[in-house]
């Protein structure tokens, strides 16, 4: 069951909310919390009931380890922590990487090892990481107690179970413990608005452009060379599709949780407005960046500092590359995901290096260039870098991704629909002088794709995001800077700075229009891009 499905919107969600509010009112918050846990497991089972025992087993195991650690002094928790992490990562590794590992060995060694195809349990990457954070924090003494029912709902809560945001136990379990789960008009209004905006982003915007982008990747997978215009459409189009898809999902998750009075952390903050790749990762999948920074990057960097290795390579470059390598591996079991991670590692390292040049007194062109403000140039550079890396994320293989990037560089030539040759022969002849060829490609889908890209770019780059618009109503645990204080480049800032969500009739009508748009687009139900993690 997907958030963007009739079954979820018209059956599951109303039933869950009604049950929760009725139980909270007549039987108390504990009953409502148990109801939400049962509903979350039902939601998970609707995908594949066979994996519910795995989820519950993982929760039971981590709970036991956590309680066992709490029963010991801090200094003697190391072995249990190691056992917990080893089992968690072992489970994740088995389900997510066995096939990849065997295929890679077979490819490299020419062997014929065989394992049956292992179906990846939905959300395993998310719930594994969330539970590891609890074990690590108990081990370090940061967490001293927790309640089982809060822990179970923290892991299984359906708004974030499948695709995040990656929540932290310290921000969720206290909320579950304190929540009354009663019906509240403010929570419903804020939650409904967030859900409507997310649904519109996913069903109308992301799926709208996705229908045009996916065929290009299919052609690449079939071995067809991807020419310039299509390669750029594949890269930029998928960046936009991914952004609106994942940001939409995250906002739907925020809205769903808020309907029962729970706040989730912000996961996207208009990342395409970023003028550096460092800023991009600070605003894109924020909860993953937060997790990787706290539990991978910082420990590695601190270890280097402790060993008194203060050089850039050991304190910044190496931790960055290792972190992004693991990020790539986490995103998927395939070499193309590693390329995605390593590319971002390289981009981030270069970005850190360029920042360090700002303090230099050299008068070389590069140093002077980086010292000056060139927001538009760096915004475009960041967009292109992110798009190139995401091309590997979408591609079926490194080869397919490389082909598309080669197409972006013009190495596969430029092909235009032959209708241009038919209608404008003189213009076509001029273009032909520059090596442009005309092929039997339909013109209108190409034009529609570029029109979609332009419209979505404007939406991603100009107006405030929904969390900024709803800033005064605390839509999330962590919030972005208000739009008026957001210093990233955006035209028409003064116009949009006046916009703020309020429970007015105009906003109600606008939210209804977005809801209607999302519902009218449900007929082309597609999975979320971050589904299989």
């Amino acid at each position: 069951m997907l958030f963007n499905s009739y079954a979820f919107i018209f059956a599951f969600l109303p039933a869950v909310l009604a049950g929760c509010f009725l139980l909270a009112r007549h039987a108390g918050p504990v009953a409502a919390q148990i109801w939400l846990t049962a509903a979350s497991l039902t939601f998970y089972a609707s995908w594949n009931a066979r994996y519910v025992p795995l989820l519950l087993g993982s929760v039971a195991f981590n709970s036991l380890i956590a309680h066992a650690m709490l029963a010991r002094p801090e200094a003697r928790r190391g072995a249990l922590l190691a056992l917990g992490i080893a089992v968690d990562l072992g489970l994740l590794g088995y389900y997510k990487y066995t096939n990849f590992f065997v295929d890679t060995v077979n490819r490299l060694a020419g062997s014929h090892l065989f394992v049956t195809t292992i179906l990846l349990p939905l959300g395993i990457s998310f719930y594994t990481f969330q539970q590891i954070t609890l074990l690590v924090d108990i081990s370090g003494g940061d967490t001293r107690r927790f309640r089982l029912r809060d822990f179970v709902l923290f892991v299984t809560f359906f708004p974030h179970l499948i695709a995040g945001p990656i929540v932290h136990h310290s921000e969720m379990m206290p909320q579950f413990a304190a929540a009354r789960y009663r019906f509240d008009w403010t929570n419903m209004a804020v939650g409904t608005t967030l859900f409507a905006v997310g649904l519109f982003k996913k069903a109308v915007l992301a799926d709208g452009i996705g229908g045009a982008v996916t065929p290009i990747y299919s052609d690449a997978a079939a071995g067809h060379p991807i020419t310039l215009l299509y390669a750029w459409a594949a890269a930029i189009g998928f960046l936009l599709q991914m952004y609106f898809d994942f940001a939409g999902y995250s906002e739907m998750a925020l809205g769903l949780a808020r309907m029962v009075g729970i706040k989730l952390p912000m996961n996207f903050n208009s990342p395409l407005k970023s003028t550096s790749i460092i800023a991009y990762w600070s605003n894109w999948h924020i909860t993953l960046t937060r997790f990787l920074t706290a539990y991978v990057y910082t420990p590695i960097a601190m270890a280097a500092v402790r060993r008194r290795r203060g050089a850039f390579a050991s304190t910044i470059a190496a931790p960055t590359m290792i972190t992004m390598f693991l990020s790539g591996l986490w995103h998927g079991a395939g070499l193309q995901y590693l390329v995605f991670g390593l590319l971002h590692g390289a981009f981030l390292t270069v970005n850190h290096l360029s920042r360090s040049t700002r303090n230099q007194k050299s008068k070389s062109f590069l140093v002077l260039f980086f010292k000056k403000e060139h927001p538009f140039f760096f915004l475009v550079l960041t967009l292109v870098a992110a798009a190139v890396a995401l091309t590997f994320f979408h591609a079926n293989s490194v080869q397919d991704g490389t082909d598309i990037v080669a197409g972006m560089a013009g190495l596969h030539g430029v092909a235009l629909p032959d209708v241009i040759d038919s209608r404008l022969p003189a213009f076509a002849a001029t273009l032909a002088h520059f090596g442009i060829v005309f092929a039997p490609l339909p013109l209108s889908p190409l034009l529609a794709l570029y029109a979609w890209m332009l419209a979505l770019l404007m939406l991603a780059l100009i107006p405030p995001n929904i969390l900024q618009l709803m800033y005064a109503h605390d839509p999330a645990i962590t919030l972005p800077l208000p739009y008026a204080q957001d210093r990233r480049p955006a035209p028409f800032r003064r116009v949009f700075a006046r916009l703020a969500w309020r429970p007015s009739p105009a906003w109600a009508v606008a939210t209804a229009a977005l809801s209607a748009g999302g519902i009218l687009a449900l007929n082309r139900v597609t999975e979320f891009l971050y589904w299989q993690f």
Binding site: Y6, W185, T186, M188, A189, T192, V204, G211, P215, I216, S218, D219, A222, H224, Y230, D418, S422, R423, A439, P440, L441, P442, S444, P445, P503, S504, P505, W507, A508, V509, T511, A512, A513, S515, A516, G517, I519, L520, A521, L522, N523
Partner: protein, 396 residues
């Protein structure tokens, strides 16, 4: 906040209700079966592009005496309302599907026979549809593949399709509550009297409005040349591996015969450009072999085979000059699609009218008919050196 939620709920209900009502009245894909309002919703432009969906439901609300099967050439060329159909053949329904091959014709016939009892089946079989071609680039296709299988009442085995009921519900929702249906409903209302818009009639005919628009915009010369280029590229691709798909046609005939219907296989007229392209590509023997297979296989399972493919005044209309956008061809749109005027002539012939256009092929007269075809070819070649050079340039 309560007021905000109330306004949201009422507005959302009104918006969705309005969309559903409009789409249900217009019924742009014939999925619902709302009675047509002449001048308002009778002509369905969107149904042309959703023919696999539309015709799957439309056929179930009809009881045709004659059923037409085929691809776009039959879809555009055979008008079920044509006066050429004798009373004994009426009512006629055009179940031809744009871009389909014999395997799809067969599935739609199975679907139709699960709900109707036609007595006459007319199947247009083209050489190009029998060629097994590699899949095209996805980005070359103007539309994405449509899952028609779940809309078939029966499976290929003949057993009831368990996915049908669910697909029907999904289609009803799609046809009433979707952006696509809303947009197509508005298009339907706005284009009732637009001669340049293709529409599907209640009897399943595509009136060819799109071809008419292209012919008016670019002229017939451009229309013919563009289609020549496309088909020559396909023939060249096929030449490398040469694989024909005849079996679905024969299975289709057997199925229709088993349901008590007579079957007429129609080899449609080829415009001279197609015949000359085949010759210059060295595919004449393959074309003859295909025709022989249709005739020997088709007659063996009880079909009558009509051949309209030779050199005749209908297929050798002179092409206007490349700069002439006003001259209109009378019988064909371009090498693949013939106009319904020519379709009427063919309907008259296969339903018994006298004439010298087309002939019934049998194993007994096959060799002589093929020889006649090549005699016509030789004759035409001798008289049209400029056309041969024009086509030669395209083939090169």
């Amino acid at each position: 906040m309560a007021r905000y939620m109330a306004i949201w709920a009422v507005t959302l209900t009104v918006m969705l209700g309005a969309v559903a009502t409009l789409c249900a009245i217009v019924d742009p894909y014939n999925v619902i079966g709302t009675p047509c309002i002449p001048g308002l919703t009778a002509q369905k432009p969107a149904a042309v592009h959703w023919a696999r969906l539309s015709k799957a439901y439309l056929i179930q609300r009809q009881q045709p005496m004659t059923l037409i099967l085929g691809s776009s050439s039959a879809d555009v060329g055979f008008n079920p309302e044509s006066p050429a159909w004798p009373a004994s053949a009426k009512p006629v329904f055009n179940l031809a599907i744009d871009g389909a091959g014999p395997d799809v014709f067969l599935r739609y016939l199975q679907h139709a026979l699960a709900a109707t009892t036609p007595r006459h089946i007319v199947v247009a079989v083209n050489f190009i549809e029998s060629l097994t071609l590699p899949p095209r680039r996805v980005t070359e296709a103007a539309a994405q593949p449509f899952d028609f299988e779940s809309r078939m009442r029966v499976l290929a085995t003949g057993a009831p399709n368990p996915a049908y009921a669910r697909a029907h519900v999904a289609d009803l929702v799609f046809a009433t509550l979707s952006f696509t249906a809303l947009s197509d409903s508005v298009t339907t209302l706005l284009h009732q009297h637009d001669p340049s818009t293709a529409y599907e009639t209640a009897s399943g005919w595509n009136d060819g409005g799109e071809l008419r628009r292209w012919a008016r915009a670019d002229g017939f010369f451009r229309l013919v040349i563009d289609k020549d280029r496309e088909k020559i590229a396909q023939y060249k691709t096929w030449r490398a591996q040469k694989s024909l798909q005849i079996d679905p046609v024969l299975r289709l005939v057997r199925l229709a015969r088993a349901h008590g219907a007579d079957v007429t296989l129609v080899i449609p007229p080829n415009y001279v450009d197609t015949m000359e392209s085949l010759r210059q590509l060295g595919l004449d023997p393959d074309y003859d072999a295909w025709k022989s297979a249709i005739v020997t296989g088709g007659t063996a399972v009880g079909a009558t085979v009509w051949d309209f493919s030779g050199y005749s005044p209908y297929t050798t209309e002179p092409l206007p000059a490349s700069t002439d956008r006003t001259h209109r061809l009378r019988w064909i749109w371009e090498p693949v699609h013939f106009q319904s005027a020519l379709g009427d002539v063919m309907i008259a012939r296969i339903t018994g009218a006298p004439g010298d256009f087309g002939a019934i092929l049998t194993p007994a007269n096959l060799a002589s008919q093929i020889a006649r075809y090549h005699a016509g070819q030789t004759n035409w070649i001798g008289q049209h050196p400029a056309d041969i050079a024009r086509i030669s340039a395209l083939v090169r």
